[in-house]
Symmetry: C2
Subunit: 132 residues, 2 copies
């Protein structure tokens, strides 16, 4: 059960697609989970804007390129197994979620009953932002 | 770009293994990323202790069963796509990471240089806890 990770950072050779947790650097709110490949990671480092790899579209996803809600990289961490990243970001526009909420985790489940409650704050109307 | 998720909770039929972000309910620190299958999720709900599914061991992973560092479920959220969970937990023993750190994200990377710094606090010695 020793450390199996790469001491120098995320191991894209072993894990071509690495999950990335985005956390608001000011509030500590967890905003979203997405993925990076090596190219997205390198562009994130070099530009200071967070770039993911979209699994559904199979291409780089420069977060905010359509909505304007880019994420500025404030700090970067990797985990014990070198297979997950944590980025602390400044979320421009105040909303990380394409549904217009600050966080993608805008719904809470009561463990006892399974009841779902929307607890998130809606910052924008996705119909307006995405013109749909 | 509308909501594609299940409004009632995580969609284990579509995603048999769902990533779960564990966050300290008191400090907001992100502790770790792990996975749940439907069985782990149901046991988490019914017991109030967080249970994951270990991908390396292909079986339920009752977090803390060896180290004693169990995670008590404080709140549960799911994301817009119903394919990621966020759990806020009380981390018994103070350390989530098998390396003895509070958080698995105990190493920071400087984007400009790639330099790695250990920023985490070591709470226990894994050699003692795991008798190895």
């Amino acid at each position: 059960m020793g450390s199996t990770g790469n001491p120098n950072g995320p191991d894209f050779e072993k894990h071509p697609l690495i999950p990335v947790i985005a956390q608001d650097h000011a509030t500590g709110d967890v905003l979203m989970l997405a993925y990076m490949n090596a190219e997205a990671y390198q562009e994130t480092l070099s530009t200071g804007r967070v770039v993911y790899f979209s699994r559904s579209r199979s291409k780089l996803w420069r977060k905010g390129e359509e909505s304007g809600n880019v994420q500025l990289l404030k700090a970067l961490y990797f985990d014990c197994d070198s297979d997950t990243l944590l980025v602390k970001v400044e979320q421009i526009g105040g909303a990380a979620c394409h549904e217009g909420y600050r966080s993608c985790f805008f719904r809470q489940i009561q463990p006892e009953t399974g009841a779902v409650t929307v607890i998130g704050e809606r910052v924008f109307d996705p119909k307006v932002v995405y013109h749909k």
